[in-house]
């Protein structure tokens, strides 16, 4: 639900007049004391570390572009960026939802351990790098080295994927609808079975993206590099 649909009061904060530190502190205080549930942030102007470290059932709409690490390490909160996001949006997300209407720079959702990140546009390189349980749905394409050393969680790419997708991947599951420029070490295409189509449909629905799961291909770990063997040295 976007904020426009709510009848409850919305706390409006203009970052041209309110320091970022003050805003983040107020949002952090919600972990310990009740306060406004709905927030609208005006004029972010590419601010870094915006709405990061939240631990409350709040909804934060940001009208504009954000810099690095927006919504980093959040728990429970919903953050919607009505613009583009810089490096590391939703990095190490623990739970909750982060939606970027525009494009996201590199390392989107890096090391995330839970929750859902939706990028409606494209995401740059290293999307989902070292992901540890987060779900990421990208409406467009992702850049090179996405899902590098991805441990857990699901990455859904409705467009194309760049070079070295899933390099040194562990147990994360990757779904790509378009072309894959190349797979990284130990990443292979796998059969997309009914249970995968079902979880993919669920992820697309959660992201609000209309796409047919049957058009996707699944990728994951061949598990050949899980324990070092000298015969695999050329793969490293």
């Amino acid at each position: 639900m976007a904020l426009a649909a709510t009848q409850e009061a919305v706390e409006v904060v203009d970052l041209r007049t309110t320091p970022l530190r003050e805003l983040n502190q107020r949002l952090h205080d919600l972990a310990r004391a009740p306060g406004p549930r709905y927030w609208r942030i005006l004029n972010p102007d590419g601010a870094h570390a915006l709405a990061c470290g939240l631990d409350a059932d709040v909804e934060v709409d940001i009208d504009g572009h954000v810099g690095y690490y927006c919504a980093g390490m959040n728990k429970r909160a919903t953050v919607r960026v009505h613009g583009n996001a810089g490096t590391g949006v939703a990095e190490n997300l623990m739970s909750g939802l982060v939606v970027v209407d525009g494009n996201a720079s590199q390392s989107a959702g890096a090391t995330g351990r839970g929750g859902l990140l939706v990028v409606r546009g494209d995401a740059s390189s290293r999307c989902g790098i070292s992901m540890k349980g987060i779900d990421i749905v990208v409406g467009g394409s992702v850049g090179h080295m996405s899902a590098f050393m991805a441990q857990k969680g699901r990455l859904v790419v409705c467009g194309d994927a760049g070079e070295a997708l899933g390099d040194s991947i562990y147990e994360a599951r990757l779904y790509v609808r378009g072309k894959v420029a190349g797979l990284g070490a130990d990443c292979i295409e796998k059969e997309l079975r009914a249970e995968h189509a079902a979880e993919l449909a669920q992820l697309l629905a959660a992201a609000g993206i209309d796409a047919d799961p049957a058009e996707f291909r699944r990728y994951g770990s061949a598990r050949r590099l899980y324990n070092f063997e000298i015969d695999n040295a050329s793969a490293y």
């Binding site: 810099g67 490096t87 990095e91 899980y226 324990n227 000298i230």
Partner: protein
């Protein structure tokens, strides 16, 4: 020299280039087809604090009475930006060592020992355990490239945050916890299946270079409401530039780990051939801070081969605010103790030589995840030994400081030192003993 016998064949000459250990390693490599991975730190001879001596007081300097006059040892880390700097009673901290590399009782012992004497301990790759938090009064939480177990609640529970860029045993290298050390608990903490090799990346996943690091530090401050000091740890290589860049990026405290720093599992070739020793790294770090006018504003912690109060005092005299110990703390807890000689023999090693910390078969119960072995280690006794050892280091440091007439260990200075070798004189930039010659200074 006695007469030649079958056991002492004097006419045989061993090669300098191919001595028996080199032959053994070549043949091991040929047999196994994989490089040697081991724990511990550099074993080669390196210029170190042993190559420096203190000039005790005499007619021109006035000593303090060793048993009556106070020589303070307190240190505050993180005074630059943090709301809550760390207040330590001694300038010796416990370095980051992971749960995974070490057993839970061993981590608990480090916390107990450090807390007993009023200093800090540090997490490691793999996250923070409840035992560690419970028993560490002051705990530094590491943010590493792997981000294993990284949790904002733990960030907020920590007393300081250490962004690890590198470590002295392997600057530029990632880490590896071999599959046989991955217990159910370690696997769960790191979000990986049990029994597989767990690689730690060499680069952080969401920042590259000093400008990004500045923004990353800003994010960590925002998440923790600017309460926690932010440390930046680097392995000693281009130390002068690294320290200046870390200051620029906003670090409160910089940790410089020389190449003698220990590791749980690293390639031998990396341990012995990458990085610079702690001695020159200390001097370079202090130079960098002084040039920026930030010496004592941004605190400097030095680690890598600290064993005695003499090492501590010399590091402080060169300008460090504190030191950090890792390997020595494990040894204090019983690692490599002759008490376990028979057990070391069973696994092909010997007390004083054991460095297979990566293997998880440590008979002392420290570098293992085997429940049976870990149970051998008593965390209360281990903590007591760590505390005793830290006290001895502190007393030794005070003894040397008093002899130099200092009422606080931080008042030790380079002028109190001379070098035994030309190399150490050049690296530490103190005169060669008996001369006023500092190689490289004044065109000499």
């Amino acid at each position: 020299m006695g007469a030649e016998t079958a056991e002492q064949p004097w006419h045989l000459r061993e090669s300098y280039l191919f001595p028996r250990p080199v032959i053994a390693e070549i043949q091991r490599a040929a047999r196994e087809g994989i490089y040697d991975i081991r724990g511990f730190g550099a074993k080669r001879r390196l210029p170190h604090f042993d190559d420096l001596l203190f000039l005790g007081a005499s007619i021109s300097r006035y000593p303090l009475e060793g048993y009556r006059e106070r020589c303070a040892t307190d240190v505050v880390l993180g005074t630059r930006f943090a709301k809550r700097p760390l207040e330590l009673k001694i300038p010796i901290t416990i370095a980051g060592m992971s749960f995974g590399a070490l057993s839970a009782p061993a981590k608990e012992a480090l916390g107990r020992g450090a807390s007993e004497v009023g200093t800090s301990t540090t997490t490691g790759d793999g996250g923070m355990t409840p035992e560690e938090r419970e028993h560490s009064k002051i705990l530094v939480y590491q943010l590493l490239p792997s981000r294993y177990g990284m949790n904002p609640d733990d960030l907020r529970r920590a007393d300081a945050i250490e962004v690890v860029v590198g470590q002295g045993a392997k600057p530029g290298g990632g880490g590896m916890l071999l599959g046989h050390k991955i217990s159910d608990r370690v696997a769960e903490m790191r979000d990986l299946p049990k029994g597989i090799d767990q690689r730690s990346a060499s680069r952080h996943p969401d920042w590259t270079g000093p400008d990004d690091l500045e923004i990353k530090i800003h994010e960590l401050r925002e998440i923790t409401d600017w309460e926690k000091p932010i440390f930046v740890k680097v392995g000693a290589t281009r130390t002068y530039y690294d320290v200046q860049l870390a200051v620029k990026a906003g670090a409160d405290v910089i940790v410089v780990d020389g190449m003698q720093g220990g590791t749980a599992a690293t390639q031998e070739v990396f341990i012995e051939h990458v990085g610079i020793p702690t001695l020159p790294a200390t001097r370079l770090a202090v130079d960098a801070l002084q040039e920026l006018g930030m010496h004592r504003q941004v605190q400097l912690v030095v680690s890598g081969g600290i064993r005695s109060g003499a090492d501590v005092a010399k590091a402080l005299a060169l300008g460090a605010d504190a030191v950090s110990i890792g390997t020595a703390a494990l040894i204090a807890m019983g690692d490599n103790s002759p008490e376990y000689e028979a057990e070391y023999r069973k696994i092909g090693s010997s007390a004083g030589f054991y460095d297979d910390w990566q293997a998880g078969r440590d008979p002392v119960g420290i570098s293992t995840q085997d429940d049976e072995l870990a149970r051998r280690f008593d965390p209360v006794l281990g903590g007591r030994r760590v505390a005793n050892y830290l006290r001895v280091l502190t007393l030794e440091t005070q003894t040397l400081a008093r002899a130099c007439g200092k009422s606080h260990v931080h008042n030790l200075e380079p002028e109190d030192l001379v070098a035994l070798t030309i190399e150490a004189a050049a690296m530490a930039r103190v005169p060669l003993a008996g001369t006023d010659w500092i190689p490289g200074v004044g065109g000499s």
